[in-house]
Amino acid sequence: MRFLPKSLFGQIVLALVAGLVVAHVVGAWLMVDERTRFGERLRGQYAAQRVAGFITLLDGTAAEERRRVVRALSVPPTRLSLDEPWQAGADDSPDAAAFLRRVARELERSAELQVLSIRRATPRAEERPQFDRPHMPPHREAHAAPRFLVMVSAQARLADGAVLTIRQALPEPARDWPLRVLGLLALLAVVVALLSGWAVRRLTRPLSALADAADGLARNLDQKPLDEKGPQEVQRAARSFNAMQRALKAHLETRAQALAGVSHDLRLPLTRLRLRLEQLPEGEARAAMQRDLEEMDAMVGGTLDYLRAGNDTEQAVKLNLVALLEGLAEDAEAAGAKVSLHGTAQPIAARPQALRRCLANLIDNARRYGGGAVDVTLDDGATSVEIRIEDRGAGIPAEERERVFEPYVRLEASRARHTGGAGLGLAIARAIARTHGGEVTLGEREGGGTTASVILPRR
């Protein structure tokens, strides 16, 4: 079972080809068998006519002439004799009966006949029949000569009561495989195998596309819908899949709209609150309220940024990544970080504002939680670019590294109010990377600290 193909394509092609081979082998065998039977019938007919002929001939021959005639006729593959007595114990097999019926049909009178035996025998050299292939070259004939003969022994009483014993050897043909027909069948098998392979590939390809689409759906709900073509069942599957994608998207959009609506509507009261605060006298309470407002503002803004990160209308352009990172490094240094930039990369297709936000969030995290020294490394490749942002901070426990990408999740240690942030920075960064077909992951940095890795495919 280990050698069975794993893919649907392989299994269907195997089943088709195996079925085809079995059908052809059985068909060919049946055909060859039918030919053989036909040949046997012809030979039986031939032997019966010959026997009947001898009887008729000898009936009409004078007794004194018979021995000479019998001697003259007794040449391989026939032996005739007038010296044997009528034997008891005739062969009464159905083959023998059928042979006798044939002989009787050929005779002009009814004669007493019996078959002594019909058997297969290795022919003696002189019995080897030479009669039906005189045109064969000698070596070929030796090769094609039948190895077995059917020996028919029969006795007949002649009109005057003499007993004629006839031994007639019949060639049993080697199973003669008709090579041209078999070749044709083989050709047919190959052509059908190739055609069915092509057809099955066509049938299974949409299935792979469906699997790819299902994979992709988890990362990007906005991927382009499947082609709804191909055989009916495939069309239906593609239609259902596309409908599911639309439904999922609509569902998520409804929820996102609700969240966006709340965040959006909060902005007006927040603006009013800020203006009202300006009317209050300066003091500690007012400063504290202003800080609270800043925080609420950051949460609302972060939520909207996060919701927008997935469906930005910004156009992708060819972007100089080095300039982008140098600019971000400079801005981060203005905020008190020390950023070192390594490596370089060719321009890549990306949405500049979105990608800036993605990388800025990661650099900002490295600056905040990573002790201030940040290393940014560009690693250019033929199919993708990797940007690693590394710090020497306390690091993130392995089991938390995925959880921190969820919106509003902050690590306990950083939840202290003064560090700010709504816990959306990483979620936004990942959402943006994914809209670029890429990914953001967190890992441990060699020697301590965190590595944030952004991989952007070149498309």
Binding site: L270, R274, L275, L304, R308, T313, V317, L324, A334
Partner: protein
Amino acid sequence: MNKRILIVDDDPELRELLRGYLGGNGFEVDVAGDGAAMRKRMAVATPDLVILDLMLPGEDGLTLCRALRAGSAVLPILMLTARGEDTDRIVGLEMGADDYLPKPFNPRELLARIRSILRRAGENAARETPARALAFAGWTLELGARHLVGADGVVVPLSNGEFKLLRAFAENPFRVLSRDQLMDVLAGREAGPFDRSVDVMVSRLRRRLNDDGREPQLVKTVRSEGYMLAADVERRA
């Protein structure tokens, strides 16, 4: 004489709060709830500056902005937009707004923007329509997106400092800008004290422009005076 500001916003409470706040800071304030009200108020008294909310019932802010700009090339307009929506920002600038401020804004930031716009408007009374992009020597500086586009179409992002510096150069081609002037341009940066000398910033900018050979041709050093952009600049609206 006090400057006159017309506020167009559909939230009456916010209008009144803004009227109180800006009024308390020495401005004459007029308010309107929508486009029709805005036109009525403008017929009564021409404002020195219009604060326009992007989201308005009926005609939205962008439509009104375009209409205002068509009527007067010099009337300063400040758009209030949704927060940080970059596309809105770019569209707003394309529609001819002088500046934008996302809600919820810090009132002091609003005040600073208003004063800055009015100062600029006073400096060049017969100024042109705000440009969307400045093109020179094969480069295009996009003012909305705040990045540079090369002749090959590759977008070169700029840091805040680089953008401000380059904008200052591109708005004053063939004019020598002193280190002090450039320092003033950069001092408006959002975070932290300015910690790099102008010279370092200029050399970074030259590298951005592939102009960092031994003899820079684009941003030229004028000995003991400052720097100058030696290129014709085309303003694209």
